[in-house]
């Protein structure tokens, strides 16, 4: 079927802010799809509240709305833009839900707009629990049988029909508390009666237990003609019970015979056909490890994280093809972009093995539970490709950037045998390291399998790696042994440690014996057809097939690795834009990255893509082959910056700001010299290595002080200390990981926080805009609400900021980007931190000012000047709009994580509110972050003493909005004394009804809880209140500034929003 000619203008729905479970993969899918639509001459209207995305660029779509993703906003956009179709399958669950809402309400029909890519019926059949079950039953596809019961008798009766063990899931309890697995009737009665009691509605779901089965996924495509293909299947190394997003996943499946493989493939095809999906779909299966029995766990009728992974693992561009299918094309009409010869109607064949490992945020949330369950916790992931499983796993491990580079990196050797066995039962992110230790001690495969349910094939692979460790430790290092270790991708550093040699010795021995990485191509067809797409991975002991280079100048762009808190999608935005800018200037571009969720690892972004870990050794192999004329590190976040020194040692020219100047910004003493020279004040402080030294400095400065390690991103390990005890605690935490660099201790200044991004050509600077944070200093800039243009600073301060920025950029000889954070206190400007590189705010400020910052920075790096490009140096004229960046958190996904804000970054994403007025922009920002208030107009306040005076003002504002205010004893008393009609409520430890009952009663809109420092009872109470609020979906604020901002937003709530098409924002 050829293209449907009726489709001319399409509204594409994005997925909104990055949260756990919905991350960069949708920017990748959305960007690819938009480009695919535009290729067909379709006008694309895009809506997404996330400004850090590439899809919200005006080069990607024709009209771009960075607006809150609500049905109401979408309706307004549809009325204004009059698209003929809406494509909802690229924006994750958020996009799909919105599409469904618009269809169900009849709005689309009324306005003559079609849903494309899927139908409301398809979404309903796939998403509605009962409809899905019925559909599967109709075509004979098994689901895990389950039933909702209200009493123990029914539970027993049902279980007798499906057999033990069963999983019990009480409805409406916190984080699934009260549930469990029952293996027999005694356990069933015990758990079920308890669960029924705990469930507010006296309801428990009894379900056939499939925990421990193999978890297998298929990515399927189907067109309107009914043609179906599977792109790829994937096997989770972690059996059913761990969310696939938190599992180590391998593609293709490794332990399935053709019989099992085809059985599930045929099932997946039947399902996509019955659901009448046109586009992509993901089907997850549980497969019994010892029979052919299987259950369908879930179907996602849209592109997903798994489809992004499958695309990168195979080279098959699922989102692109899905977009073409939505326009009416059939699979056999769409060219396979990789081979250029064959068509999309084939199934990719891999001649390599792909391993994905999730990036979990437990280094950020040290109090959070590490346990992995069916609730996803990973913020990102890494992928690696190799022609053997061991190598793929080793490469993926070192791609994580979590101080791990082998199966020895987490040390469980101190555990006793009993403790180790105990540890094997724990399902967390360190499980493969525990298994490795068990294998070292000779624990049998059977025992490990019995406990973990991980297939013995994978256990054997871990054993092979452990045996190699032993060989390296005990045997002389022959060329053969070294070859074999490299084939399994042992890094030189690990080989050096195990053999007692130096890294250089290993490195030299390798090169002397020709043991070097070769690069193979990802071509979708296992070499059956000639392909020209330069998408490569490295292996040892093979023939190199990376192509000869062109005579063009060549730049190496280092990506930013896995998405983690503090280093998110914005760095991919910068890397991609820089690549495009280099290409426009006639350079050949080479990207190195390992994150399958991103746009930068799409095969047609750079001239060459190396899907590789971002370590010295891996990058060196690429450098030796490609011999780039230079490398840019300033766009890839800390990941790329960390490689600067190594790159220079390899003889690669660092383009832009020089390494020694980057160092000067990070090195306390060098930086102090620069400040001295330029006459810029900063908070007094000192550098230390030990807690003792830190206390000395703190005593000299006076508490509170800010403690932080140098050379980190996102304020990791940064804390405000109020006393000696806390200093000891924090330094202890920082020093858990050996520090090459000193720890900084600064006087804590409480003022307005200002952030500036600028482009500098070595002489002149261009500041697109100055941003001001709503929260005072002490809250990490990534977690603060940021307002452009800075609303409350005086002209004098503004001038001082511009002047200081200029002086710093010049003193640091910045060529490219610089990001500076300032404190403004009593009309005095202090510098907090200078980062001579791209920052989190670059995409957002580019979009609202219309100044293509990365593009300009790249051109400056190549040798252009700001004046030469037609810009007037200094602060650019203020844009017509107020833009407010709102942080978005994923606390509800991380049980046990402390949610109160501080100097260490905790947000996973952001959204934007953009409008002509501050008030509307703020309202949009809160709305975009999912704060849709008011609902019940009831709130709880419990604030620390220092905040009480301010709390009165906040309380009065909310009272004026009609809020009923509950407060705990001392807060209530204070508020009442100051004229607020607050209701006192019992503390958690007191009898019901207490504050917890209120929260759990689901009648509360908001909790304002400003935490006290320390570890006392008060803090524990606060922690419980905050956690429970988050887990029941109550909005929780921990800073008074945020509370005031929310009040402003609610006071200015409006039902009709004014829409801003970002694509029309003028390039000032």
């Amino acid at each position: 079927m050829p293209k449907n000619k009726d489709i001319k203008k399409v509204l594409v729905i994005g997925s909104g802010p990055i949260v756990i479970g919905q991350a960069a993969e949708f920017d990748y899918a959305g960007t690819q799809a938009c480009r695919s639509l535009k290729e067909e001459g379709i006008e694309v209207v895009l809506v997404n509240s996330n400004p850090a995305t590439i899809m919200t660029d005006k080069d990607i779509a024709d009209e771009v709305y960075i607006e809150p993703l609500t049905a109401k906003v979408l309706e307004q956009i549809i009325i204004k833009e009059k698209p003929d179709s809406v494509l909802p399958t690229l924006g994750g669950q958020a996009g799909l839900n919105l599409g469904m809402e618009l269809a169900e309400s009849g709005f689309l029909e009324k306005h003559g707009v079609k849903l494309i890519g899927t139908t409301a019926e398809t979404i309903f059949k796939a998403e509605d629990r009962q409809a899905f079950k019925d559909t599967m039953e109709k075509i004979g596809e098994p689901c895990a049988p389950s039933q909702v019961v209200h009493n123990v008798e029914d539970g027993i009766k049902f279980t007798n029909t499906i057999g033990y063990p069963v999983v019990l899931r009480p409805a409406y309890t916190l984080g699934g508390s009260g549930g469990g697995i029952a293996h027999n009737e005694t356990e069933l009665i015990d758990i079920l009666s308890n669960g029924l009691r705990l469930s507010r509605v006296g309801e428990v779901l009894v379900e056939r237990c499939i925990a421990g089965w193999k978890e297998i996924e298929y990515e399927v495509m189907r067109d309107a003609n009914g043609n179906c293909i599977t792109v790829c299947n994937m096997e989770n190394i972690d059996p059913v019970g761990v969310h696939t997003g938190d599992s180590i996943v391998v593609a293709p499946s490794q332990t399935l015979g053709d019989k099992e493989y085809q059985m599930l493939r045929t099932s997946a095809l039947n399902i996509i056909s019955e659901l009448n999906i046109t586009g992509g779909c993901n089907v997850q299966y549980a497969l019994h490890p010892e029979t052919f029995e299987y259950c369908v766990i879930e179907v996602n009728p849209r592109v997903s994280r798994s489809s992004a992974l499958a695309s990168k693992a195979t080279g098959y561009p699922i989102a692109k093809v899905a977009a073409k299918i939505a326009l009416g094309y059939t699979l056999d009409e769409i060219k396979n972009a990789i081979t250029g010869k064959t068509y999309a109607s084939f199934e990719p064949m891999l001649d390599y093995c792909v391993v994905k490992i999730p990036r979990l945020p437990f280094d950020k949330f040290i109090t959070a539970k590490r346990t992995l369950t069916t609730q996803m916790k990973a913020t990102g992931e890494v992928m690696s490709i190799c022609n053997n499983f061991e190598g793929a796993l080793m490469k993926a491990i070192r791609s994580l950037e979590q101080h791990v580079d082998s199966l020895l990196s987490y040390d469980f050797s101190k555990l006793s045998d009993e403790e180790l066995q105990e540890q094997l039962h724990v399902v967390d992110d360190r499980r493969i390291w525990v298994i490795a230790e068990a294998l070292r001690r000779g624990v049998s495969y059977d025992k490990i399998h019995e406990i973990t349910k991980i297939d013995k094939w994978f256990i054997d692979k871990l054993a092979i790696l452990v045996e190699m460790e032993q060989d390296l430790k005990t045997k002389p290092l022959t060329v053969e042994l070294l070859k074999e270790a490299k084939r399994m991708e042992f890094p030189d550093k690990v080989i050096a440690e195990l053999t007692g040699k130096s890294e250089k010795e290993i490195h030299d021995m390798r090169y002397e014996n020709g043991i070097v990485a070769a690069f193979k191509m990802v071509d979708t067809c296992a070499a059956e057809f000639e392909a020209s797409t330069p998408y490569y991975y490295s292996v040892f002991g093979s023939e190199n097939e990376a192509e000869e280079t062109t005579p063009k100048k060549k730049v190496l762009v280092l990506g930013s690795g896995p998405i983690r808190i503090g280093q998110g999608i914005e760095f991919d935005y910068c890397s991609v834009h820089s690549t495009w800018a280099f290409a426009k200037e006639g350079w050949e571009t080479v990207i190195v990255n390992n994150n399958p969720e991103t746009v930068s690892t799409d095969f047609d972004i750079a001239d060459k893509l190396y899907f590789e870990p971002l370590t010295l050794e891996d990058v060196e192999a690429i450098v030796k082959l490609e011999k780039p004329d230079g490398a840019v590190v300033q766009f890839g976040g800390q990941t790329a910056i960390k490689l600067t020194e190594s790159l220079m040692k390899m003889g690669v020219k660092i383009l832009g700001t020089k390494a020694e100047d980057v160092d000067a910004a990070e090195d306390r003493e060098l930086f102090d010299e620069i400040l001295e020279k330029t006459g810029i004040p900063r908070a007094a402080g000192g550098t230390v290595f030990t807690a003792e030294e830190a206390k000395e400095v703190a005593h000299r400065l006076g508490y509170p002080v800010l403690v932080r390690p140098s050379y980190v991103l996102g304020g990791q390990g940064m804390k405000i200390a109020y006393n000696d005890e806390e200093i000891e605690e924090f330094i202890g935490i920082i020093n858990r990981i050996a520090q090459d660099h000193p720890i900084l201790v600064d006087k804590y200044l409480m003022g307005k926080e200002i952030e500036v991004d600028a482009v500098c050509d070595g002489t002149d600077i261009l500041i697109p805009g100055i941003m001001e944070h709503i929260e005072r200093t002490g809250v990490h800039s990534g977690d603060s609400i940021s307002v452009y243009p800075a609303p409350t600073i005086s002209d004098e301060v503004r001038e001082m900021l511009v002047e200081y920025t200029k002086r710093l950029a010049q003193a640091l000889h910045v060529v490219g980007l610089i990001n500076i954070q300032f404190i403004v206190m009593d009309e005095q400007v202090y510098v907090i931190e200078v980062n001579p590189r791209s920052s989190r705010t670059v995409p957002y400020i580019s979009k609202v000012t219309g100044i293509p910052i990365v593009d300009l920075a790249t051109k400056v790096i190549i040798g252009n000047t700001i004046k030469g490009m037609g810009y007037t140096p200094g602060l650019a004229p203020t844009a017509d709009y107020i833009a407010i960046k709102m942080p978005v958190f994923s606390f509800e996904k991380l049980r046990g994580a402390e949610i109160s804000l501080g100097p260490e970054m905790k947000s996973t994403g952001e959204c934007l509110g953009i409008a002509k007025t501050f008030d509307e922009a703020l309202y949009k920002a809160f709305l975009g972050a999912g704060v849709q208030l008011p609902k019940y107009k009831q709130m709880i306040m419990t604030v620390k003493d220092a905040d009480k005076p301010e709390a009165v003002g906040v309380a009065k504002r909310f009272a004026a909005l009609g809020y009923k205010i509950y407060a705990t004893r001392s807060t209530a008393k204070y508020l009442q004394e100051h004229g607020v009609d607050a209701l006192r409520v019992n503390k958690i430890t007191q009898e019901s009804p207490n504050v917890m009952d209120l929260i759990l009663g689901h009648k509360i809109d908001l909790v304002i809880d400003t935490p006290t420092q320390g570890n006392g009872d008060k803090n524990r109470d606060g922690f419980l209140i905050r956690r429970n609020a988050i887990e029941t979906g109550v909005y929780c604020i921990t800073a008074m500034d945020t509370a005031n901002a929310l009040a402003t937003s609610l006071e200015n709530a409006q039902s009709e929003l004014t829409l801003v098409d970002i694509a029309t924002v003028k390039n000032i």
Partner: protein, 356 residues
Amino acid sequence: MKAFLILEDGNVFTGTSIGSTREVISEIVFNTSMTGYLEVLTDPSYAGQAVVMTYPLIGNYGITPDMESGRPWVDGYIVRELSRMPSNFRCEGTIQDFLKKYDIPGIAGIDTRALTKLLREKGTMNGMITTDENYNLDEIIPKLKAYTTGNVVDKVTCEEKSVLPGKGKKVALLDLGAKRNIAQSLNKRGCEVTIYPAHTTAEEILSTNPDGIMLSNGPGDPKECKEIIAEIRKLYESDTPIFAICLGHQLMALATGADTYHLKYGHRGGNHPVKDLKTNRVYISSQNHGYAVDTNTLDEKIAKPAFVNVNDGTNEGLEYVGKNIFTVQFHPEACPGPQDSAYLFDRFIEMMGGTK
């Protein structure tokens, strides 16, 4: 022990010996399936060929009952890596032991992707697997160039006829090297399947008045099967419904005046898209063939293309004019590979006047 794969163009790959250490000369072909190595090993169509698996990890689930015939037929086996410890609930042993048991030589640890690219660029080549470190290329290469697979159908067909009882339609299956699942696919649909050796005469088959005749897959150059082609011509003229797969498809074409030709490097794998020209539906198919029917030589009055390969436009099936005969180049019986075209067996049953 070291092993060497020597190609007729003089390229030598050095790896480790697996299975038998016996020396073998064969035609080297590659298969891109990621699962189903056991079905490949036991597919009689590979007789006279040594197979390279492009997927690098082979033997992960060991030896299971999923065999397409009583024994492996490949001359040699070429892999990147054999799993040292297979894992599957049906696993009965390792590939290593299996190859040893049937005295099949092989080589592991070579760059199979580089080898595949060579075969893709230069076309299928002959080669030798040897463990003799003192091999002499000057002696070997002429031998390799001279090698032909010959008439291998005789080697793989059954010795005497056998019957799979069933209550439905009576099907005569001419075993040219049939994969087990062809008979099973029919039998599962209720058919009584009588399996005949390849050299059974048309008279003998027709004398039993079968409801339909199934011509199976098989190895080698179709033009070598001169006598069988003559018998198939008689079957064509009999008006008995006929369904043919792979070699059977090629022989029917040759029997009715069309020609076949050698493909540069063949189609072997489980991902080939074939389009049903009647419905324009595309099915992903299992394939294993080195020859194809030349559609330029078709007499429109006798046969018309029914399926085409979406990748390279080669013929994938024929519909015979005025006859109850259709033939396909791909493998609806799958094993290994996608089961998408299994509906063709239903079509055959309907053609015989039955219901599925």
